[in-house]
Symmetry: C2
Subunit: 286 residues, 2 copies
């Protein structure tokens, strides 16, 4: 028996999309437009610094004008809001984000709400979230959007599929639900209070796992021939990078599965950069 | 065998809540605050006129200052937006809504987005929808909120329950999903593209039906001892008012079920009026 499992290789998809995106940037530059992305980074959280550096590298590689705006941990809320106001009005910047977490003395909600929805590349402001659920998204949260871009690349049609999402975060679970519902999937959102998780997940044509628990999902959670998407970035008992899904245990039962690393992760930055380019393309039509 | 089905009698719940709400209004008036609700009605759609009259009657009965603002069908978008701006800044008005549908020459989205989220009693603006999904609701869509108020009245705990919603409208299905998720239910959203509807609904501890098809849900769709909530307002083959659920066929299989009429319907206006009072109470703390 030949088992045919298709890896959803986000890393390769991202590389393929990079070529198209680089061409889009080139074409914009011919029209005198350079897409601009700014990231505001407060303090010196080392994880945040890594995330920002990855965004910067990818953006610059594609010819996007990247601005890193750093503040000391001691920055006041007022100073931060003033900078956001400046970025909202800076015509060279198509989109920007404030890297979270922020120091305790700064109100994250207030900062978030100050970002113009037209430039909200993270898609986390109330207006952006509202438009996403209403079905008229302006910008989309990058991880959710990256998952959809990856599935599109592999021609997965979500229409009428039973999608089960584990995890209801505002960053991943909920926006993924919104986007998949928009693609006409039947969507179930499960979480820590869900009582019969295994029974529910084992009915899923598409299973999205975003809970942050190493190798939590084993094959008894998975339907035969399911598509499994692992958003987790955990460490196993040997300190090795792994996902929320026990890949080796699950993979032969699936039709498609994302590896970790190299699955959803690289698609997140792809989606972010794609969004910046799209916003810049929007300048042409005003 | 005694079959014990409990009717979820929205009409009676609404009457009971009216007493409490009237007291809250009284207590506000003692502090010099009269809750104010305005409704903007364009043209002479007869269904809209009935909805507005029902809101007016209920609001006035509770001592709320109700303002009906009527425009001719020919009103311009600009005139309408000017009125919204006025209401946004009118300190006597705690909340208002623009009754839909609007004439074709007016952009509903634009009108909707002009409403201040602090006064958006319908909860349909992007900011309100976003805050609802983020988990920090300012106002909540009335039908969804009314369903929750009714379940609370009957002490139904949604935590860990499997909730299945049929219908994904922005007015009912999606906001109900958001509120029930916030109550720690496991939520599945189904719709016209769902392929195995019966299989899914027959696993639901709580089934919410909002599809607008007379008596569509028969007992084979329903789990034993389920709670069934019928948002439909349809006409049966004899022109008699009925719901999306075939009440007589289903009721003995459920533990609780809403009748139509007298179930969800009366709760919708209750939730709207409750919201206006809550917004007025907010004036005390600024």
């Amino acid at each position: 028996m030949v088992i045919s499992v298709k890896l959803l290789e986000g890393k390769k998809v991202a590389q393929a999309l990079d070529e198209t995106m680089a061409k889009r940037v080139e074409s914009l530059k011919e029209k005198g437009i350079t897409p601009g992305l700014a990231v505001v980074l407060v303090g010196d959280n080392s994880a945040s610094a890594v995330y920002v550096r990855n965004k910067q590298r990818r953006a610059e590689k594609l010819g996007i004008n990247f601005q890193l705006i750093r503040f000391e941990e001691s920055v006041t809320e007022q100073e931060l809001l003033a900078k956001i106001d400046e970025l909202n009005n800076d015509s060279a910047i198509d989109g920007f984000l404030v890297q979270l977490p922020l120091p305790d003395h700064i109100d994250e909600d207030k900062v978030n709400e100050a970002i113009s929805p037209n430039k909200d590349v993270d898609g986390f402001t109330p207006i952006s979230v509202g438009n996403l659920w209403i079905g008229t998204p302006m910008t989309k949260p990058a991880t959710a959007s990256g998952i959809l871009m990856m599935l599109d690349h592999y021609n997965v049609d979500l229409d009428g599929k039973n999608v089960v999402i584990i995890g209801r975060s505002n960053i991943v679970g909920k926006p993924t639900a919104a986007l998949m519902l928009e693609r006409n999937a039947t969507v179930t959102i499960t979480h820590s209070h869900t009582k019969n998780l295994k029974e529910i997940t084992s009915k899923a044509d598409v299973l999205v796992v975003a809970i942050g628990r190493a190798k939590f999902i084993t094959q008894d959670y998975v339907k035969d021939q399911a598509i499994v998407i692992d958003v987790g970035m955990d460490r196993d008992e040997n300190g090795k990078l792994c996902g929320d899904v026990d890949f080796d245990d699950v993979k032969d039962k699936t039709s498609m599965i994302t590896p970790v690393p190299g699955g959803v992760g690289p698609m997140t930055i792809t989606a972010l950069v794609d969004q910046v380019i799209e916003l810049a393309e929007g300048r042409i039509n005003g």
